[in-house]
Amino acid sequence: MSDKTIEFIEKGRRLDGRKLDELRPIKIEVGVLKRANGSCYMESGGNKVMAAVYGPREVHPRRMEDATKAIVRCRYNMASFSVEDRKRPGPDRRSVEISKVSREAIEPIIIKEHFPRSAIDIFIEILQADAGTRTAGINAASVALADAGIPMRGLVSACATGKVGGHIVLDLMKEEDNYGEADVPIAMDVQNDKVTLLQMDGRLTQDEFKQALELARKGCKEIYEMQRQALIAKYTV
């Protein structure tokens, strides 16, 4: 978040021509990988994300297993070439945190009790990054879980809202993320109107935050619809 002067909004349109409450274009492909039990490739603006699910499968190391339910693990990773300056391979502090909050964003909708002593592993690879990779990853992972046939209470849909040039906008692009005033990534179980991921960076009044959350609700609903359509298209004969 910085104070660099950019005219983010002109005549109700953003730098890329979007309206304030408009998502970037989204493309979803289901079941694209051979080895994984479930997978999803998703593009969202300039983000390109691959998610894969393995499981339910045996837990290694054994001492991590839970006798009453499946454990869920998640690894968010950025490919070295996904960002402007090459990223060193391997986890850094940022990706460890995102792996954790992504897992916690997804876990509530998984019916873990069906698979005691087993693991459900979610892998998210960011192949090209353009602001909003964590929410894109959660969206893809949610579809990949469905593709893997993991029993779920619904889907998780995620997007970021934020404050840019004084306005609350949906789905921040790179410049808005870098130079905007606040960034609020949110994930929801849309069918039950429940928030599963909530983070906030930057500065907002309480009122602005409410607006941001309401806008995210709208965005998540739209994404949910696209996720559902992609799954239907895949699984309808």
Binding site: E97, E104, V195, G202
Partner: protein
């Protein structure tokens, strides 16, 4: 945290209490345990704060040293926040690589300081593109009895208020206090059953299904949030917590930071 998992009986007991509007230690839902802060406890550090919230104790030390700026912020100082979950503080903290808990904790504390504007990074530039102040915020967890994040955040801002730029040591003039422009305070609520309580102690933290930390500024606005834990929150629950947190933060700020 396997060893920290409390018995189902204890958990049920806490949930039943909360359901009835009560807490183990008799506190109101929005009431903190006793808080104390002691500054200037580490003379090798440029600033320090020893914070106790009930049984939870953290020691925050600020070290300030000259270093190179990042290539894309040549005229700004650097903040580096680290949390050590010393095995001294809990039977479940093990030696070794920092766990995701420690990393999340450090990053939330860091964002609170950074995003609130508490430190003006441009004031920490010594020579543009060449030398800036590196501000290390090191949180040493000494005793873990729940709600680390509020203790660590409070310790961080309090230690910064206590800190001096060590100009003399580097022949840059006289030592001056670090300029602190805002006073972010983190307040954490946890969900137990369908209720929300502030400042959970360890047992309550174990019994909770999820938590939400809200960091707010002097002007009452928000400077950061972090949901943690694998349960959901409705939008209304979130608004409720935000309101409760901002109000409580105001009291804490007045009492301990102003």
């Amino acid at each position: 945290m396997s060893e920290d998992i409390i018995s189902e009986i204890k958990k049920d007991y806490i949930c039943a209490l909360v359901e009835k509007g009560e807490r183990e230690d008799g506190r109101a839902f929005d009431q903190y345990r006793d808080i104390s802060i002691e500054n200037g406890v580490v003379n090798k550090a440029e600033g320090s704060a020893y914070v106790k919230i009930g049984g939870t104790k953290v020691l925050v030390g600020i070290k300030i040293q000259p270093g190179e700026p990042f290539p894309d912020t040549q005229d700004k100082g650097v903040i580096i926040t680290n949390v050590e979950l010393s095995p001294l503080a809990s039977p479940t903290f093990e030696d070794g690589a920092p766990r995701e808990d420690a990393i999340e904790l450090a990053r939330v504390v860091d964002r609170g300081i950074r995003e609130s504007g508490a430190l003006e990074l441009s004031k920490l530039c010594i020579e543009e593109g060449v030398k800036v102040w590196m501000v290390f915020i090191d949180v040493q967890v000494i005793d873990y009895d729940g709600n680390l994040i509020d203790a660590a955040s409070l310790g961080a801002i309090s230690a910064l208020l206590d800190a001096k730029l060590p100009n003399e040591r580097y022949e840059l003039g006289k030592d001056v206090p670090v300029l602190v422009s805002d006073l972010p305070v983190a307040v954490t609520a946890v969900k137990i059953g369908e209720k929300f309580i502030l400042d959970p102690n360890l047992d309550e933290e174990q019994a909770a299904s999820t938590k939400l930390t809200v960091i707010s500024n002097k002007d009452g606005g928000l400077a950061g949030m972090q949901k943690s834990g694998a349960d959901t929150l409705s939008p209304d629950e979130i608004y409720h917590i935000v309101e409760m947190a901002c109000k409580t933060a105001k009291d804490m700020r007045k009492k301990f930071l102003e």
